[in-house]
């Protein structure tokens, strides 16, 4: 009896701790250490409005991948610092996440100035860096670990416009172009495709002027364009100078055959704030929610349900697309080894919501850009034809 009791107690005492030990070990083995992806975004300051949308794109991607079992079977954790819209701070934080936090993967930054500054840091530490880049200059420095997936290339910005213009009968094409460009690296990057396109189509450039931001008035600019009878206007600016130019066009009753605007007309504020005056403006983009690539329908739904946005903002899509590229690099390489990820990305095609890309030695896909036009308050896709969501309105109707 005593022996039995002893055995019971002994057995119980032994089994319980053993069970607890194995149970704890079991838990430890099952819970994989998360893959930490870190970097910085402008969450406060000048670029915070856009930076927050990039962050939301990243977070949505992380949520989605975690719900599907993670990356390489491990959960994903994002470590995003606020660089306060300062490129120098973005560099410091890139160094911090690599050397102090020792992240597994690097997050792309925003805007182009921050990306340009972080790209050499990524190269120094041999970390794959997928972002918008900082136009052609940033991809011409010989970096091997940076990818524009998709990039935002000023140099390609109007390729779609000129490709579409080639389909317009020659007698209906514009003859004279007036170009007004903001005097900064983004503005300068836009000039490449304009000069090439105008030359190819025989469009004479009658005005080619640069202005410093902030623009104080656009009235004299448009007076000049009207006097010179320019029937194609390139307003290479951001939102504030863009709306001033459009309002000056309307006030002066200047209606060229086409108005092509740089960056401002693809953001939601353009249609919301300008109303009908913002219609018929052409521009370019590297992503649009109406593109017929898998995944865009999901973004539309999430933007509507979670953020009450009828159309997913541009940088929500970009953030998501950059993570798709990084994800495919990791999954393709089946490893977190940065060189293996880089090599896989350099030799394989990635499929994103912005398109399918093969990267060259600079980390860039083949030149591409989608032509957009604002029609009835919506940014529609015009070019390439297989992505078209609306027939272009050309020539631009007179102002009402």
């Amino acid at each position: 009896m005593r022996k039995k009791l002893f055995r019971k107690i002994y057995g119980f005492n032994i089994l319980i701790p053993l069970f607890l030990i194995f149970y704890s070990f079991g838990l430890g083995i099952g819970a994989e250490k998360p893959i930490v992806i870190g970097g910085s975004l402008p969450l406060t300051g000048t670029f915070s409005a856009t930076g927050k949308w990039v962050e939301r794109g990243y977070q949505f991607w992380a949520e989605e991948i975690n719900s599907k079992g993670g990356l390489l079977g491990r959960p994903v954790k994002l470590l995003i610092y606020d660089d306060k819209s300062d490129a120098k701070e973005a560099v410091n934080l890139a160094e911090k996440v690599i050397t102090v936090d020792k992240v597994d993967l690097l997050l792309g930054g925003y805007p182009g100035t921050a990306c340009t500054a972080v790209m050499p840091v990524a190269e120094k530490h041999k970390m794959v860096y997928v972002s918008m880049g900082g136009h052609m200059k940033s991809f011409s420095q010989g970096y091997t670990y940076s990818f524009g997936g998709p990039p935002l290339m000023g140099e390609w910005w109007y390729l779609g416009f000129f490709e579409w213009m080639k389909t317009v009968p020659p007698d209906k094409r514009p003859k004279k172009a007036a170009i007004y460009t903001m005097n900064n690296p983004i503005g300068m990057a836009l000039m490449d495709s304009i000069y090439k396109g105008c030359k190819e189509l025989g469009i004479e450039i009658v005005i080619d002027e640069k202005y410093n931001l902030p623009l104080t008035t656009a009235d004299p600019m448009i007076t000049k364009a009207k006097q010179m009878k320019a029937d194609l206007l390139f307003a290479n600016g951001m939102f504030p100078d863009g709306v001033m130019t459009i309002r000056a066009c309307k006030a002066l009753d200047y209606s060229p055959k086409a108005i092509v605007q740089g960056i401002g007309s693809v953001i939601p504020e353009w249609t919301r704030e300008l109303g009908k005056d913002g219609d018929y403006i052409f521009s370019g983009t590297s992503w649009h929610y109406k593109l017929k690539y898998p995944g865009n329908d999901k973004l539309i739904r999430v933007a509507k349900e979670r953020f009450k946005e009828d159309e997913p903002p541009l940088y929500f899509g970009f953030g998501y697309a950059w993570m798709q590229t990084l994800q495919q690099g990791v999954e393709g390489a089946k490893s977190l080894d940065q060189t293996k990820i880089r090599d896989w990305l350099k030799s394989n095609e990635v499929r994103t919501i912005a398109g399918n890309f093969k990267f060259d030695e600079r980390g860039l896909p083949k030149p591409f850009i989608y032509l957009t036009q604002v029609i009835n308050g919506t940014v529609e896709l015009i070019w390439p034809p297989d992505m078209r969501t609306h027939e272009p309105v050309y020539p631009k109707p007179p102002w009402k």
Partner: protein, 290 residues
């Protein structure tokens, strides 16, 4: 013909804008001249009035000019409170200018963040039925919104001028500015006079903010850009000089306009700030300071 039209258009547009810069600058000049307070938050208060106008227009269809009946008294009272509870405490400082700059810089950041919370960082634009309409004088246009802003500017600057030169309190403000000790000996209540001047200055920024919002899109950090023009107006016109600010604003507008007509546009800022440097070298007290 081409050149003449462009030149006249550039001058007209420049003068209209210059008038609006003057309106925003006049209150800035007043607090700097009277109290030695450089109010870095001046343009942020102007921006607050822009947002009130935007709200009034988009939520209730109230014309931006009418929104001033709400925003100006509100800003005036806010100015009184800020002076009473913040500015008065730094007037005992050895270096009021530096102390005021630090204090109001903080105030500007707080205001900017309040605006970010209330209106998000999105760009805003005041779009009325007359936003893109213009009066045609041959080939020259006068934008109705710019004209309204200019008229507002004339009314605002004239009101401040009449207050300073034709009212008892206004004369006390000037006396305080010219000789604080002498004014105190004559029974002028320095704190009360300064408080009223500060309230008035903040209210005038509201009128300037609405006038600027007619022309430019804005978001919460926009006040930083506007501030640059404030400094330009006040330094060229002379600190504390109301008419100096008015003429300086017009002069800046004129230079901007003429630069548009005769020089490459990217030179405008070089010319404007070059002018500022020359004035600082030749007449550091400003062109119109007696």
């Amino acid at each position: 013909m081409f050149n003449l039209i462009v030149i006249i258009q550039s001058i007209v547009s420049g003068l209209l804008i210059g008038g609006i810069f003057a309106l925003l600058g006049v209150g800035f000049s007043l607090t700097w001249g009277v109290m030695k307070v450089i109010n870095i938050a001046h343009a942020a208060f102007g921006l607050l009035a822009s947002y009130i106008a935007y709200w009034g227009l988009n939520l209730y269809g109230i014309d931006p000019i009418l929104s001033l009946f709400l925003s100006l008294p509100l800003l005036f009272v806010t100015g009184l409170f800020i002076h009473r509870f913040l500015i008065q405490h730094i007037t005992r400082s050895k270096d009021i200018i530096v102390a005021s700059m630090i204090l109001t810089f903080g105030l500007a950041i707080i205001l900017e963040n309040i605006m970010l919370l209330a209106w998000t960082p999105d760009e805003r634009l005041i779009t009325t039925s007359y936003s893109s309409k213009a009066i045609f004088l041959g080939d020259i246009i006068i934008r109705i919104s710019n004209l309204l802003g200019f008229i507002l500017s004339i009314i605002g600057i004239s009101t401040i001028y009449l207050f300073l030169y034709h009212t008892k309190t206004g004369k006390a403000v000037r006396a305080t500015w010219q000789d604080p000790e002498g004014a105190a000996l004559q029974g002028v209540n320095l704190q009360k006079v300064s408080m009223i001047a500060f309230g008035l200055a903040i209210a005038s920024s509201g009128a300037g903010g609405v006038a600027l919002a007619y022309m430019y899109s804005f978001n919460p950090p926009s006040h930083n850009l506007w501030l640059i023009f404030l400094f330009l107006v006040v330094i060229v016109g002379g600190v504390g000089s109301i008419m100096g600010s008015a003429i300086s604003g017009l002069l800046i507008g004129l230079i901007t306009g003429l630069s548009n007509a005769f020089f490459p546009m990217q030179w405008i800022n070089v010319l404007l700030f070059g002018l500022l440097m020359v004035i600082l070298l030749i007449k550091p007290e400003g062109l119109f300071k007696k």
